[in-house]
């Protein structure tokens, strides 16, 4: 169980790293990069960004019983985009499928030690997740609930 569901912006443990090390660890973490198996039900998808903006994100959330069972993503952009995707994906799994508990991109960017000019990359990832949580699943049904 992840603690603090519903509390203001509970972030993942720091593990005693410098911000740079933390950023690099998440930027290299591609465990949840990619998609789900084809035809999987109860998957919500959200996108953000564009080639002109320099970053594009697809976030995929598998919802079961009002909880985010698994999170996956695809991205094109800098390592800051990738790190935010990886961080959010880990954070989201096991939490309620509610957009109001998603940590703001600024908080994640600060936690990962981004330079100010890179904060927008975490904001775009947040956007993709919020869009996913607000979308119907790919079969056209909207998962009801919240535990």
């Amino acid at each position: 169980m992840k603690p603090g569901d519903g509390d203001p912006v509970p972030l993942l443990p720091e593990e005693g790293e410098s911000p740079r090390s933390r950023f690099e660890r998440w930027a290299r973490d591609l465990r949840r990069a990619g998609g789900f198996e084809p035809g999987l039900p109860n998957v919500r998808e959200g996108t953000a960004g564009s080639p002109e903006q320099g970053s594009e994100i697809e976030f995929l959330l598998e919802i079961r019983d009002g909880l985010i069972a698994r999170a996956r993503y695809r991205y094109r952009g800098g390592p800051w985009t990738g790190a935010a995707c990886a961080y959010y994906a880990e954070w989201l799994e096991g939490r309620s499928a509610r957009s109001d508990i998603v940590p703001p991109g600024c908080a994640v960017a600060g936690f990962l030690g981004y330079p100010r000019v890179r904060y927008d990359e975490a904001l775009l990832v947040e956007d993709a997740i919020i869009h996913a949580l607000g979308n119907e699943d790919r079969s056209g049904r909207r998962e009801r609930g919240g535990s």
Binding site: G34, T47, Q53, G54, S55, Y75, P79, T81
Partner: protein, 399 residues
């Protein structure tokens, strides 16, 4: 790729290490017990020895480029050489005209100097290049005017490695009596340069792009007839009054040694480096989505400008941490503008961002190229794998 203690260095176009032979020579002119004296001190033997070393180095520079010794002026580097050539010539001849011609793909040390001259009342025409990065000499001809003072076109582009037809451009300028400047930073030691035959009046060189030290460069100044430049640094009258400041003997000796080695070994080096570059491209061209900029035109031996379509260049660089190479977009800030050179070639912002410059040099090994090819293929494959499947604009806030 296994973790190396040092990255594989593939950024020779940005800077080369000093050749060990250069370092040995420099040390003879630096410390106590060496010939460290001021080469301007003609009153004692150490000063005269330092002067002799400076003149010997000047001879080596001149010998590589087919110039006379007195046509070589030492500067702090190519940026200063470009500034002195452009600003010095334009200001010395401002009564004769106010128009200058250059290309859109010059180095910033040329473009920024031209912008400074524009702010001072000069007018500059920037000639475009084609999709291969070539400047058409006929475009230059059309840009020349009766009041044109000077034309400046680089020999080899620092981002694409494309070789410009400076012989034809120089001939056009000479027909019109217009001074022709060439930034030869990326070509010296890699391509033959014979200024006895080439219609070029001013040419800029750098030490640290030719296995010499940083902080030293040279400007070739044609002496037939002698061109007059207005100095940009004033002081003790060194370098025939064109570049004041105590001559940095050890730097100059290092530059001379680097040019001497290039004269003796440059052709052999170029052949070997080109072989490795072609081998690397042969490996990478099999990857779908990788495009070589300037593929169908002559390019300098050690440089590949590659656009990795469909991925982010910064992420690719991040996952290639064991390689020291450059992103095609030369960003001055953390999130700078896309490369003006790649944009001039018709690349989009996204393509320019996804362009890497791989430059090989004298100390590159076949083993390094093999490792680099493998690492690039793996990283690009990985980035493509995680890239979004859908194209087009996605909903998002404005940031």
């Amino acid at each position: 790729m296994s973790k190396r203690t040092r990255p594989i260095y593939l950024d020779y176009a940005a800077s080369t290490p000093a050749d060990p032979r250069v370092i040995v020579r420099m040390l003879e002119y630096l410390g106590p017990g060496s010939v460290f004296a001021n080469p301007g001190s003609a009153t004692h033997a150490l000063g005269r020895a330092a002067r002799e070393a400076v003149e010997a180095a000047r001879h080596e520079v001149a010998a590589l480029i087919g110039a006379r010794d007195r046509e070589v002026i030492f500067t702090s580097g190519a940026t200063e050489s470009n500034n002195l050539a452009l600003s010095g010539l334009a200001r010395a001849r401002r009564e004769r005209g106010r128009h200058l011609v250059s290309s859109q793909i010059e180095h910033s040390s040329v473009l920024d100097t031209l912008r400074s001259l524009e702010a001072d009342g000069f007018e500059v025409t920037y000639v475009p290049c084609d999709r291969n990065g070539c400047v058409d000499p006929e475009e230059i001809r059309r840009a020349l005017r009766s009041d044109t003072l000077l034309c400046s076109v680089m020999h080899v582009n620092n981002e694409t490695g494309v070789i410009q037809d400076v012989a034809s451009i120089g001939s056009i300028c000479r027909e019109r009596g217009i001074v022709f400047h060439v930034d030869a930073v990326q070509s010296a030691g890699k391509l033959p340069i014979d200024l006895a035959a080439l219609p070029v009046d001013l040419m800029s060189f750098s030490g640290h792009k030719i296995y010499g030290p940083k902080g030293i460069g040279a400007l070739y100044l044609r002496n037939d007839p002698e061109l007059v430049l207005e100095p940009i640094i004033h002081g003790g009258g060194q370098e025939r009054g064109l570049r004041a400041g105590t001559l940095a003997t050890h730097q100059i000796v290092g530059l001379g040694e680097a040019f001497r080695i290039a004269r003796l070994e440059g052709a052999t080096d170029a052949c070997r480096i080109q072989g490795m570059r072609d081998g690397l491209w042969a490996r990478l061209r099999t990857l779908s989505g990788v495009e070589l900029n300037g593929a169908s035109v002559p390019r300098v031996c050690g440089l590949l400008s590659l656009t990795f379509t469909g991925v982010g260049g910064e992420s690719l660089l991040f996952f290639l941490g064991d390689l020291a190479l450059a992103q095609g977009s030369a960003c001055a800030s953390a999130r700078g503008e896309p490369s003006h050179v790649l944009k001039a070639l018709g690349r989009s912002d996204a393509e320019a961002e996804a362009t890497l410059r791989i430059s090989l040099g004298r100390f590159t090994t076949e083993d390094e190229i093999e490792s680099a090819a493998q690492a690039i293929a793996e990283a690009y494959g990985q980035m493509l794998e995680v890239a979004p499947r859908k194209g087009g604009r996605m909903g998002s806030r404005t940031v």
